[in-house]
């Protein structure tokens, strides 16, 4: 349920219930909370959480527990007194001896466990939103990514007939080349989409086209997956570099068409 490993969660809750019933002291509660959260992060999820995230969580847990234990003189005293009794009172001598063996043994086991981690290829992190370059060259034409706009967009107001021609050309290019993956309705659900990972972009999403300048979209069309920066790899995107198949005008036209089809305007320079 909810991706949790229920037996582990229930067992930890049951231990907590027993401690509440027995009115455990502050130190026991602190030890239980630290241990239970460690066990929860380690075994409590059906899909284990990455070690890096677990380390962040345990660091926060440790810090919070230290803060709680020392947040007042009374609480600090409640935490320390059982430890003092364990060390000083003769009746706990056996428990103390056990602890003196257990703590170094735990440290030794930790070292052993760290040294016997099975070998595996190093992990990698890739950028999900790779930044575009400051400029790019397509068919010998250099485009400044910060300031470039679709050269045919202004026809929308200046020459609607010419604008319609470019749109029509963009429609042709789209339905000849793009709809296989991006779909008839541009929802990223074309007939090949189910076989691709990552899935093709959904142009209907208000979080995609409107937040991008048309120069960014042109960069993605022209350079495709091979043109992604190194930080964006490993990238299994199937997006081709369309500059190898289309002219600059065809790419700007399809760029125009996908914005127009979805009823969006490209994000302008200086727009939030």
């Amino acid at each position: 349920m909810w991706g949790l490993n229920l037996p582990v969660v229930l067992a930890l809750a049951a231990i907590g219930g027993v401690l509440a019933w027995r009115r455990a002291n502050t130190l026991v509660w602190l030890l239980y909370t630290g241990g239970a959260l460690w066990a929860f992060f380690r075994f409590g999820f059906a899909v284990p959480i990455p070690q890096s995230v677990a380390t962040i969580y345990l660091g926060i847990t440790g810090l919070a527990l230290v803060c709680y234990a020392s947040s007042s003189r009374e609480r600090l005293s409640e935490t320390i007194q059982p430890i003092q009794r364990l060390i000083l009172e003769p009746r706990y001598r056996l428990a103390l001896a056990g602890l003196l063996v257990a703590l170094p043994a735990l440290a030794a086991y930790n070292v052993y466990a760290d040294l016997t981690v099975p070998l595996e290829a190093p992990g990698f992190g890739r950028e999900v939103h790779p930044p575009p370059p400051t400029e790019m060259t397509v068919h010998d034409e250099t485009i400044d990514m910060a300031t470039a706009e679709n050269p045919y967009l202004h026809y929308k107001h200046d020459d609607p007939e010419l604008y319609a021609e470019h749109l029509e050309n963009g429609r042709r290019v789209y339905y000849e080349n793009c709809f296989w993956c991006h779909g008839d309705g541009m929802g990223g659900d074309g007939m090949f989409a189910h076989g691709l990972n990552p899935v093709p972009s959904n142009f209907n999403d208000v979080g995609t086209l409107p937040i991008l300048q048309s120069s960014f979209v042109q960069w993605r069309i022209a350079k495709g997956a091979p043109g992604l920066p190194a930080s964006g790899t490993p990238w299994d995107s199937a997006m081709p570099a369309w500059e190898k198949f289309l002219t600059n005008e065809e790419m700007w036209d399809v760029n125009l068409f996908i914005y127009d089809f979805n009823g969006y305007e490209p994000r302008a320079l200086g727009q939030h």
Binding site: W2, G3, F45, V47, P48, I49, P50, Q51, S52, V53, I56, Y57, G59, I60, T61, L63, A64, C67, Y68, S70, S71, S72, R73, E74, R75, L76, E120, A121, P122, G123, G125, R126, E127, V128, H129, P130, P131, P132, P133, T134, D144, M145, A146, T147, D205, V206, G207, P210, I211, L212, Q213, S215, F216, S231, R267, A268, L269, G270, Q271, H272
Partner: protein, 643 residues
Amino acid sequence: MNRNRIIFGIGVLAFVSVIATVRLGGFLVDNEYRQPDRQVAAQEEQGEAELTPRQQGIADEQAADEAEARARPYEEAEYRTVSFVGSRVTVWVLAQLHLLFAAFVLAVPLFAFIIEFVGYVKKEERYNKLAYEFTKLLSVSFSMTATFGAFLTFGLIILYPKFTNYLMHIFSPTFLPYVLLFFLEALFLYSYYYGWGKFGPKMHLFLGFMLNIVGTAIMFIANAWLTFMMSPGRRDDVDGDGVPDFVSAVSESGALLSLRDAFFNFTWMPINIHRIIANVAFGGSIAAAYAAFRYLQAKTDEEKAHFDWMGYVGNFVAIIAFLPLPFAGYYLAAEIYAFSQTLGIQMMGGTFSWLFVIQAALIGNLFLGANYYLWLGMGRMEGGVHFQKFIKWLLIAIALCFAVWATPRYAISSVSEIAAMGGSSHPQLSYLGQMSAKNTAVNILILSTYMSFLLYRRTGRQSVHPHRQLLTRAQAIVFSSAAALVTFYGVYGYFVDSATRIRFAIPQVYSVLAALVVITVIDLPLYRNARQSGETKWGKVPAISQYALIFIALSFTWLMGLMGYVRSGLRQEWHVYGVVLDTSPDAYTPSLGFATQVVSVTVLIFFGLIGVVFWLSSLGGKKDWEPKAVADGDGRLEGGQAA
């Protein structure tokens, strides 16, 4: 043996050791191996000794170097290098140290002036004394700021001469006003400090006011230089179509077109606002750390009480300034994104986005540290036990929000972890890495911190207001409503499209700010003339609270260094973005690990130096030096006193 004699003996020994080492080196060089050649021996006897192969080699090298030097034409250097650390790290560390001291020097007068003003209005001498204590830190810090400013200027001129020359080409008209303002700042700062008690209160407050005005003006000028490097132009609707256009301050070749556009550039005002707020937060935390340092050194109850109060006020200033800081940061980031999508995506989605995970951890630490200090502060008041039961729940809320804020959207994972998760994001935890969860977490953190402050404020006090029950309930309703609204928008954000989700941040922020204002407005009359159930014992707080103050100061400093690196590093291979390319060997983005190491070392150096500032500032309160009294043979001290 007399201690001074031992020190003198060690000094002599060290001197003799150095001389002996130099002499030994000379002896070894003079007695190097020579061939036992009879002919050489004969030539030596006749005074026609040939050079040894080594001497010959050295002479040839010198001759070749001299010939090369004479033949070499004069060339303008583009870059110069520093061995071992490199040019970039040198300038980076110097700039960061200069900025940290400058931030401190600009911030302290701001709240010293406010505290002095409060003391003047309330006619309470203790505020005046506190403001003076803060001001004591200024004179040495001012010298440090100027020293590192000079270091930085020399570093730029020597190591990046061509780029520095370019900046001079753009901004040289601003240099004279800068110098004049700096001179005025020195004048106002020293007259404010040394004139304490020498001028009338109004005149003195005027000096403090002018010190702040001049200091802020200096920062605004320096901010123009650095923001120009990021956004060399301004935004304006030139063609009147309602869509802002980018007006470049320089031509394509980099020649200046408009100093006004270069100065009032795109990111200038966002940086100004962000820095003013951040400086106050940082300055407050450093001043609180100074108070902690003095508290831990204090011998008398009176000293402890004074520095405990000073630490509390410094921390209060820091936290109050810290609360709006995320919003100012958001504004700055939005403006950077608006200026350039490349910079924006690089910052929040690219390599630099990982630094925001570290930032989240640091800010979480700051919230935790600030709350912890307030909880410990309840120990100052008699009757503080009443609110202790709430600490557990506040801590749980803070730790949960901290964890949510520090959860990355895409975790650093090993191959087997990625295989288990089916990608870089965890099926459940990735929800916590999204904007909805993070906005909710930070708003609840702010509310929780404010709740801790309210509990602290009420500890040991009982309201005597006739409608106290009604007003307290009203506060509870406002607080719960704000928390519920923030949580509602946080959860609802998962069910709407991203553009709508982004807009949810606004009602979340406004509901929290409104709650803070309304609760404060109710609280002021509610606890006016409140009955004290016990005395506030300043100076009786546990010593660990003082370490919490130092921890907060350290976290603030580290955070400033880290975020400063993000802002500056975003330009990547550009000195001036899109205009002047960095062609030096350092024109690459360092690894995140290396960058954090540089920031850490800089923070350590800063704390070493600020330790010196603390020590020098604390000398004023120490007793004057007096010659030691030496007993004579009759058991009488010099000066006639009985031994």
